[in-house]
Amino acid sequence: MTRLRKAMILFGLLLVTLLVLVLAPFFGMEIITPEMLFQPAEKLLKVNIFWKIRLPRVLTAFCAGAALALSGLAFQAMFRNPLATPFTLGVSSGAALGAVFFIKLGIAISFFGVAGQSVSAFLGALFAVLIVYGLTHVKSGFSTATLLLAGVAVNFFCSSFILFVQYLSDFTHSFQIIRWLMGGFEIVGYQPLMTLVPLFFIGSLIIFWLTHELNLLVLGEDIALSRGVNVRKIKTVLFLATSLMVGSVVAVCGPIGFIGMMTPHICRLLLGADHRFLTPATFLFGGSFLVFCDTLARTLIAPAEIPVGVITALLGGPFFLWLLLSSSSEQTLSV
């Protein structure tokens, strides 16, 4: 595939992203037309809905989608494993456990204006990261297998703990927990977006900064080292950056699993394995795909909402199967 063709695909993705971002806020329980935005007096409510509910929600969904997709991309390259995502490392489970604790305890507190649930989910994510990171640090070397196994262990631990908390909870809390675990963007105002943006920005910048390194990590640690990559340092940076990014996303909108795993694969099929093209593509595709799914979530059975995690899985599962069948499975499944 020529560079020109790749550049054109990227440009196409950029156009689609802009289109999705511009159109999505107009859709919802009620369709808002562009003219309404310029009729202030009698349409004040709809203007408010547009600017204070739909737009922040669309932007949050975009950031969350892009962050999850980029994290998945980085982890798949680091572990040379198509199934590796930050979720494999137990980061999302840790965040979920934190949030579930908060729901169970039902304390209505906030820290510096940030909702308590976000803080506790974020702390849970950090806790999981520190455990995984600590475990791999205790043993010398920083091997992929050790890291993945540590992640699996943390995952099991957190999932079991969530089940335990749920078992002890009454019906209301139990329902709240299940609903939160499905993932969604029922947010109002710009506060959630503001908690997400700083870490999202730093994390994305780091991954865009390290595209050459990601290309080399795909070849294996020994080759990456022999080409001059400081593997240990780069892995630590990537690991922390993506974990923080995912932690903040899970804190705001619950665990949404499909994006991080599938988006990079879909982009790989479109553009090949070069991370210089793959990274921007994954960023755009992940973001706009989650915005699209969230728009569906808001409109399909309005006035009720479908959890966006359910939509992503329902759309993504069959699409991924179709990809597997329509092209060589080796290309799809390999990083």
Partner: protein
């Protein structure tokens, strides 16, 4: 592409390995190894499986950190090099292990330019020239657009050498480059190595099980056994059972090559006990 040698530093050995020991999971893999390598030398490392040959290469490439002992490059401790600086000195062709590479040959070779790249930079003219030169040297230009995974084992191995060459380092390490290859590809690889050594004055360090080839084209040979250096000397001296028999725990037969007249070996046939 190949660095000119610094005349002032010619007195120093290019690589000096002193009392190098290395253990994995408390098992001693390398045991107090010392030797030197001069610039432009062709050195083969032979020895039975599990002798520590690959580990020695990985220590030189700092894939394994030096625990005990010292490795100096041009008089500078290996630990003092950044990974990029080390990559500009040494390139490495690993053992082929059937791993998946999702790149085309050209993309893969271009990744060898990493030590000269900074983030967000695109490919410069010098990088393109280095890739072109690597393809030409290994006569693989016709494979440039192919996916690596569609190549045969022999083509793949030559492309790996090309990728290491694009790195532009004066020292080339190869870990069993001809294992699993047919005789044609094997001799092709040895031809390329000879060319790199003689025409470009690259220092070649190759781990191999092909004792005949090692003796034929190396300047010097070292033999490892159980992590210890049991022989280090000119290639011409190894063709005796005094040296080879204890290394491999078996006897060899020696004969003259029908056309070149050089000594070649054949392993003694081992019969089953009646």
């Amino acid at each position: 592409m190949i660095h000119s040698k610094d005349e002032n530093k010619m007195a120093l050995p290019l690589i000096e390995i002193k009392n190098l020991s290395f253990s994995i999971a408390r098992k001693r893999i390398l045991d107090s190894i010392s030797f030197t390598i001069d610039a432009g030398e062709y050195l083969s490392i032979i020895g039975p499986n599990g002798a520590g040959k690959s580990t020695l290469l990985k220590c030189l490439m700092r894939i394994y950190p030096v625990e005990t002992g010292m490795i100096h490059f041009r008089g500078v401790l290996i630990q003092k090099f950044s990974q990029k600086a080390l990559a500009r000195e040494i390139c490495y062709v690993p053992q082929s292990d059937g791993r998946f590479f999702p790149f085309t040959v050209e993309e893969f070779i271009l990744l060898g330019r990493y030590p000269y790249l900074s983030p967000f930079t695109s490919v410069r003219q010098t990088d393109k020239a280095a890739v072109h030169q690597a393809l030409t040297l290994t006569q693989t230009s016709h494979l440039a657009k192919r996916q690596i995974n569609t190549l045969s084992g022999g083509e793949k191995q030559i492309v790996f050498i090309a990728a290491a060459l694009a790195q532009g380092s004066p020292i080339l390490l190869l870990d069993e480059p001809t294992t699993f290859l047919d005789p044609k590809h094997e001799s092709e690889i040895y031809r390329i190595l000879r060319k790199l050594n003689q025409q470009l004055k690259m220092t070649i360090i190759v781990v191999t099980h092909n004792i005949n080839q090692a003796a034929l084209q190396s300047d010097r040979l070292i033999i490892l056994k159980n992590g210890q250096l049991t022989f280090c000397g000119p290639a011409s001296q190894i063709m005796t059972n005094d040296i080879l028999a204890p290394a491999y725990d078996m006897n060899f037969r020696f004969m003259s090559h029908p056309t070149t007249g050089q000594t070649v070996i054949a392993p003694e046939v081992i019969h089953d006990a009646p």
